[in-house]
Symmetry: C5
Subunit: 355 residues, 5 copies
């Protein structure tokens, strides 16, 4: 049943609930691991089949299952069967073109969001879909790629800083969300560097056509980022409003903290967007201004030399009867005209503020 | 009573409820077919008169009537009479200039929306109006044209993947809506290709006046698409909020899935709109920038040659008393001036960043 | 008491409720007519005084009074006294600078809106204020001008298509509203033609300064239209939300139909507005692009001839010692330079994409 | 305690409730007058101290106190003490940088708004703050300047048109609000003239740099007007929503009328804002277009004469061996070339639509 | 435990609630002081450890603790422990990248906002985070820097103007908020000066590239200011809506006054933003217009001299057979042509409005 396709449109026509992996990333192997913890002990082990997971269901502990890579649709299917997850949710987990969203299914919560990873030179953003299933004492995380995103959370569970292990699956969910949202600040720092560089370039008058391409590139990346970040506000406020029994009163304050961070990220991105629009305006204005300068130089030069060249042309004519040609002081007199014309014109242009 | 007109304005003045087909497409013949299914059996047959439909009314099964082509207003009228449908609804079915909308009429639901079909080279969008009447065990679909839009749904009913046949008319409605909405992803893929091509063209400095026309064309298509896609959000949330008895609890999750898809489509279209606006700005900036470059070349050339031509003009004058003309080294000296002037000016322009 | 003024500001300072006609149109005579109908009979008669109207008050029929031209403020005053209409409402009827609005005064409803009439070559829009007073069995319509706007409604009442005469004053009100709103589709068709023509003109590169004026003219007309059309949405939803006893349950579905039409009109106008903004951008871009083309031609020509003219100038100098002048092959050699320079430059400009 | 300062920032740091006059206008003397009216009689008298006011408190009549000029902070303080007005309200009355607002303080209502007075040549707007305190049988009006704003209201009370004197302090408040709001229509008429003039100037191709300054000036005035007009909507709807006992049921319809006027004013101002933005676009487009025309002339001229001057230059060279110079028909032949070149080029440019 | 980092992103990965100072300002020493007041007495003393604070907890007075500089995280930690403050709140106090916000934690209120300090030449804005913890009889204020921001409040408490000392911690909180918000008016005054200067510069035609940079700088500062000012509206309305027992009924009117000020500040900033956008448009238009003027001069000059130079070139040719050269009146005749050409062209250009 392992079948993959790149584009959401390719799946149109299939019945809802068909478990097909739709996405760009296809790890050769799906990496699965599990962490079971309580205040007393921590068990960490790799997972190869659904049985490795099921055995923890009756314990009064928190079990965190991380599935990295979605090529293995079987495991998703088995989890769905064992934990009674709706077909459409399973489908959403495997289709990595989801919009970030939150759904309360009574016995479990379903959260999809995007982890945005940025790279520099040039600045660009990769997105990875992270799906979270929250049960009373189980948290499933499905990721597209194998990476170290959750290492700090794992580390914190192990060292149990912040009374982590005494808290339930809702606190683990918070920690996961917080990690993903906070990663966006890294992205904003990079974006800030890029926009600041651009601004210096523009105001330092070194704008080239490359600058224009950079503005366009950043604008597109911001459109890209916004599509994944804007729905987060709705997502978190959905979680906060849901009166799910899976989220304990104590955890709300932490989730509100995440909500604050999300608002901050969104506002920052909006202000970078405004700034970029402003920079494009500045670019256009600045190009216009420089063209004006160039035009002035051309006009001043032409204005000075064209009449003088005309004068020289006149006395280059071969008419037999041109009395001036015989005058002794005609040539020096003309030279003095050649000195006066530029002086007068330069003054005129200075008065007109062209020089 | 078969009467047709192209423009909504031509109908102004007619009493409400007059059954006239208003639209651009007039198939010669109306194609009608019917599908009756339950978990036990499937009946598929063509429909020629209202009697072929009425005979299924008392059965406890789902009957799906597809009417392709709206030239036959009689059948619409008869369905209206048999199934007690309001005159205005019948009028809306026949007038293909409807805005997508949802109406709950108690014993039946009325949904109108647009199926957007895109063609490439150049990218353009055709819309076809699809009206849906949902009764307890009947679903009527009215389409403007004969095409294969619903083939996947028919296929799915036949092979009964996804327990389709055990579910009621509301699930069929969902499947129809889902099919139409998902077709929009195809459109977005095409749009994506077009916008990406445009962007490459623009940034690759190959922008011509043709590029401008393409931007304008795509902008208009997007305005066109938005008019049909934006009301879908309202439509689906109307369906979700309506507490109609015709929609069972189980179906809500599927409808919410359609709502998610609609939101995704709308957001994508909005971001393409933003991108196109950005591309036009880039186009203008880029044309400005290039003009600046051209101007610089002109100015540099003129600045270099105009003073030198003037100098040459001077010594082309025919004054009798021009001592320089007799000097032996005057001519080579002038040549050295002709070498110095460009060198000095080129340096000056380099410093001004014009070269 | 017949007094008129053109501008709303001229009335500032007068006490509220003074019955003065404020508006641009002042027919010499006010045309008044009346139509009384029930399922049994229709009476149509001209009205000259309030007595002609009052005599129908006790009948269980619908009486429709149409007053065309507002110069006769007496009749408005008398209707106000007989039917107990608030002074401010009477004032609003006479002041034709009203914003479209709906007011529920308990025993009667008051609706003001604008009938937009368009003329072509060039496209422009005239507005006429229509005020409607709806009583239980009376409908008063006040119009600024004498025209045939309501002829189709009158015709429909006479032929009683659509069971019109069995329905009350609320259905008549619906028919009036529907007629006025549907007239706006005519306007949109004309607007569509104008915008399409403009677009063809612009993309066909025939843009002149006239095009700019047309864009500006259409933009202003659309601002004009929007001011009268946008409040209609609010007006109709006000009617739908009001739980007035004057509107029967059966009529709501018809009013909702009008609401749909209004939404469609508004959305269309908004999309024409977007398109016009787009067209102005295209105009600017296109002018920029053409200027660029012109500049290139100028620069190419200048670049080719200026150095050659300089060369010719050199050998036009009259220095005694210019050895080249005596060389036999100098002249043909120079000609070959004159061939080489353009060839080289043309290649260079072709590489730069300027030709 | 008479102390004044110009800028809101200068007051920062003072305790709340310190009665200091903050504003730009400081009449030398504060003019105070009082009008006490009932259906029976009218008393009009100047006020010099708080005692002149207090003596009317027990009467069952309406007393209207008008205080013009805010330099006398003592009277404000005494009114505050006698009528039990909150310190912050008194402070707001004296600080003329208030945003229009409405506050319901139980025993009295507090309204602040701006009276906008416009002057022409050039169009500009002055604002004067008007504060209104409404008690059961008292209305206090505080104005910055002495002018004739309320003369029509005073006149109406005297002649008792519209049953004015039988109505309470709430109707007087309505009359005051109505007067101030209706003054804004005068302003809109002036604005309309200015915008229409601008448009004619622009479309008549007489645009100069002065036009640009006028656009900018009007834009700023509109930003200015909006800041004082936009909050009025909120203010009036605040009054309408407040269920204050000070406002009788009968008065609501009058207040709703003011609300309608406010909405109309706001919509008009918004549309002038849109038009001005449009005019700036037209200005830019038009300048661009004209530059294009100028460029074409320059290019056509240069294209024609530069090659011909080059040709003339060639035959002005002094080479000994130039066989053409000796040919008899060379000179007339060249003249024919000089005729052919312009003819060919003019045709070429005509084809290119440059002429 | 003193640890600092500059960027919010550097903290991502740390567990929530770790007390680390994140910010740009790191005073060497944290300055702590305390003020305890009641109607009877005032105690002012420096604070060196938590014990100095704790001893006031049981008194029925208001104690205001000001902590300037956040390098000493220990004191924050101890206050947190003694007064039972949530870890996340403490973390927010130390992280100076907070968005202004209000949180009601039952026994205490938490407010974070920014004090914006502006400097001139050039105009720029510094922000300092101020966190406020409000308990029943305690107010803690945490600031990033040591400055005199609260001196007026302290002064007012000492001289007890406005019955300050009889009111509780909520009134002190109001006074603090009011001080911070009112400081923003200073900023707006400065901004107003800058924008007015810019406008004069632009309209006085002295625009240089420096003007462009100033516009861009101000735009960025306004984006900066908005990010800190916009959330204040939400913050204050949060305080007003919260039905916290810590805020007494009497204080609401004062808080509403602060809310009014905030609205005014926000509206002013928005209007400066609009004005700046307008100024950029004017800049672009003005540059365009000037370029047009320059182009006209160039074109007029070129048009006049190019044909005349060509004529002079013709008669500079060395053909043997050029009859005109021998005519006696040829040279003066040519001079008259040289007079006629400019006269005719100048008239032509005057008619075209180019001169």
């Amino acid at each position: 049943m392992i079948e993959t396709s790149n584009s959401p449109s390719e799946k149109s026509g299939l019945p809802p609930g068909s478990l097909v992996h739709v996405g760009d990333v296809h790890e050769l192997e799906t990496k699965m691991s599990l962490m079971n913890y309580s205040t007393e002990e921590i068990i960490e082990e790799p997972v190869s089949s659904i049985e490795d997971i099921v055995k923890y269901t009756d314990r009064n502990t928190v079990t965190w299952v991380i599935i990295e890579g979605l090529a293995n649709t079987d495991i998703v299917k088995h989890i769905g069967e064992e934990f009674n997850v709706h077909q459409l949710v399973l489908e959403d987990i495997l289709n990595t073109h989801q919009r970030p969203k939150f759904e309360d299914h009574g016995s479990y919560l379903f959260i999809v969001l995007k982890y945005l990873k940025s790279s520099t030179t040039p600045f660009s953003v990769d997105d990875e879909q992270v799906s979270i299933l929250v049960f009373n004492n189980f948290v499933f995380v499905f990721k597209e790629k194998v990476d170290d995103l959750f290492d700090p959370v794992i580390q914190r569970i192990k060292t149990s800083m912040g009374r982590f292990r005494s808290l339930g699956s809702d606190y683990l969910t918070y920690a996961i969300l917080d990690t993903i949202v906070d990663k966006k600040f890294v992205l904003i720092d990079l974006l800030d560097d890029e926009v600041t560089d651009l601004e210096l370039e523009l105001l330092g008058s070194e704008a080239t056509e490359e600058t224009l391409k950079t503005i366009q590139r950043l604008k597109r990346e911001i459109i890209h980022i916004r599509r994944f970040v804007s729905p987060l506000r709705e997502l978190i406020s959905g979680v906060l409003r849901s009166e799910s029994e899976l989220i304990h009163d104590k955890t709300y304050i932490y989730l509100r903290d995440v909500a604050d961070h999300v608002t901050r990220v969104i506002e920052q991105i909006e202000s970078y967007r405004d700034m970029l629009s402003g920079l494009l305006d500045i670019y256009i204005s600045s190009v216009s201004f420089k063209m004006n300068e160039v035009m002035k130089v051309l006009t001043v030069l032409t204005s000075i030399f064209i009449p003088m060249t005309f004068l020289a042309g006149i006395y280059g004519m071969n008419f037999e009867y041109m009395p001036e040609l015989k005058w002794k002081w005609a040539y020096p007199a003309l030279w003095s005209v050649f000195f006066i014309i530029p002086v007068v014109l330069v003054r005129f242009f200075k008065k007109k503020n062209w020089l």
